[in-house]
Amino acid sequence: MLLDLSTSEMAGHIAAGALDPVDAVSGILGRIDVMEPKVHAWAHIDRSGAIETAKLMSQEAKAGNLRGPLHGVPVGIKDVFHARGMPTLANSKTMDPSAVYEDSRVVAALRKAGAIILGKCETVEFAGMGVPPASRNPWNLSHTGGGSSSGSGVAVGAGTVPAAIGTQTGGSNLRPASYNGVAGLKPSYGAVARTGLLPVSWSLDHPGLIARSAVDLRLIFGAIARTAPKPIDAPNQWRLGILRDFFFETSTPDTVAVLDAALSRLGATGVELADVPLPALFSAHSAIHHLIMSTEMAVFHAPRMHRHADTMSERHLTLAQAFSLVPAGYYIEALRARRALRDAMLPLFADRHVLVMPTTPAPAPEGLESTGNASLLTPWSLLGFPAATVPCGLAENGLPLGLQIVGAPGTDLLVIEAAIAAERVLGRLDLPH
C-alpha cells in the first residue's frame, strides 16, 4: 500500500517504473485530506506545485532520467527552513507571510536529489520553547505529537508524507520521531549545513530528519550531508554500551521495561551489550546547555524583541527577555565546560560501537501545552554527537517508545547502520489507525 511505503521503498518503486510520481503525490494528498483535520501537521501545503513537479518528474522517470536517489518522493520541511515559493512563518506573527526566500541549503540538496517539496510542517514558535502548534499525536489525538518539530513528526507518523526535515537544539527532532512511532536522525553537529535556517542557538542547532524507516535515514542523510559520507561496512558483531546512569534511572518503569525487552531481543541475536558508566561532569550537562542556548537565543531575538514586541507571543517574549540576562562570563564558562564534557565522554566509545538508551523517559504526554520531556536528548545536542531513534515497542497506554542510539562525532553512518540493524530485529510499527 502506497501510504505504508518508506522513503527508500517509494524511491525504489519510482526508479523501477512501478510507481508514478504523480500517483505518489496524489495518494499522499488524499491521505492529507483524511488525516490533516485531525492531526494538524502542516503549516503550508503546495498542492499545485507538488503535482506540477510530479508531472515533470514522471516524464523524466519514463525517459530514464532520474534526478537523484529521491526522485519523485514528497518530503515535508519544518517551517523554520526557507524554501523557494513558500512562506516561512515559524509559528510566529512576527514573520512576514509575503517575504520571499531562496532555498535553504537543506531544501536545495533535497531538490537536487529529486525530492518534491510538498510543504512546510508545523513548529513550536521559532523552534524554541514558545507557543506550541495544534499538532496532535496520530496514535492518540489527545496527546502531543512532540516538538518543536511537531508537524514533521506527526506528518510522518500519520502517513501524510514518507519523510520530513526537522531541527534539534535540545530534543526537538528525535522526540517527535519517537512519540509518533517512526525513525529519526540528529546528525553530528555541522554535518548538515544550517544556511537558510532560522536559528534557535547557533552552536546547538542541528538540522535533522524523520522517516518511516531507519533505512531511509541513510538515503536522506546521504542527500543532505554537507560532504558525501564515505560508505562503511557494518560491524559483524555489534558492541553496544548501555547508559543506565541517568537515562534509565530517570525513565518510567514502563519505559524501562520496554527498553530492557528490546535490548534482550538484540542480545539474543548476538549483539554484545555492556553497561557503560557516565563521567561525573555529565551531571552538569543540563545547566551547561541551558546557559548556552539561553544566551544565543536572546541575542538572535534581540532585534525582534525590539521591533515586534507587540506581535511576539508573551511566552516567547518573556523567555527571550529573561535569557538576555545571562552574564557573559557564564556563557563562556559554559562553552568551556562543554568542551571538557565532550572530552570526558569520548572514551565511552573506546570499545563500544555506539551507546544505547531510551529516547524519551516516557511516551508522549497528554495535552498539547507541553511537547514533552527532552532530557534524554539534550546531552547529544549539547555535545554534537550523532543520535538516532527507532521504535522499540509500545507503552502500557499504547503510545510508541523509542530506542536511542548515539555515536562519537562524525560516526553518523555507523549510528544509522546500528539503527537499521536494530530495526531489523525490533521491526517497524504499522501506521496508527
Partner: protein, 71 residues
C-alpha cells in the same frame, strides 16, 4: 556576576532579579521569575565546576565548504 568563588543559587537569583527590573521593568521582571530561577540554578551548577585552565570554549560554526569554494 563573579564566577569564582562559586556563587550560590540565592546570590545568582538576586543578581538576575535586580537586573531584570533595571532592564525590563517591574512588571516584566515578575513575569519572568520562573525563568530567572532556572537560570540561577544553572549558574550555581556551572560556577561550581572546576574546568582546567587549558580548556578553551567550544564555539559552534557553520562553515559552508561548498560556498567557500565557490567564493
Amino acid at each position: 556576576m563573579r564566577l569564582k568563588p562559586p556563587v550560590s543559587f540565592d546570590e545568582a537569583y538576586r543578581s538576575l532579579a535586580q537586573n531584570a527590573v533595571l532592564t525590563w521593568g517591574t512588571s516584566a521582571a515578575a513575569r519572568m521569575d520562573p525563568q530567572l530561577q532556572s537560570i540561577a540554578c544553572a549558574m550555581e551548577t556551572v560556577s561550581a565546576l572546576d574546568i582546567p585552565d587549558s580548556v578553551e570554549p567550544l564555539f559552534g560554526e557553520n562553515i559552508d565548504i561548498d560556498l567557500l569554494a565557490e567564493a
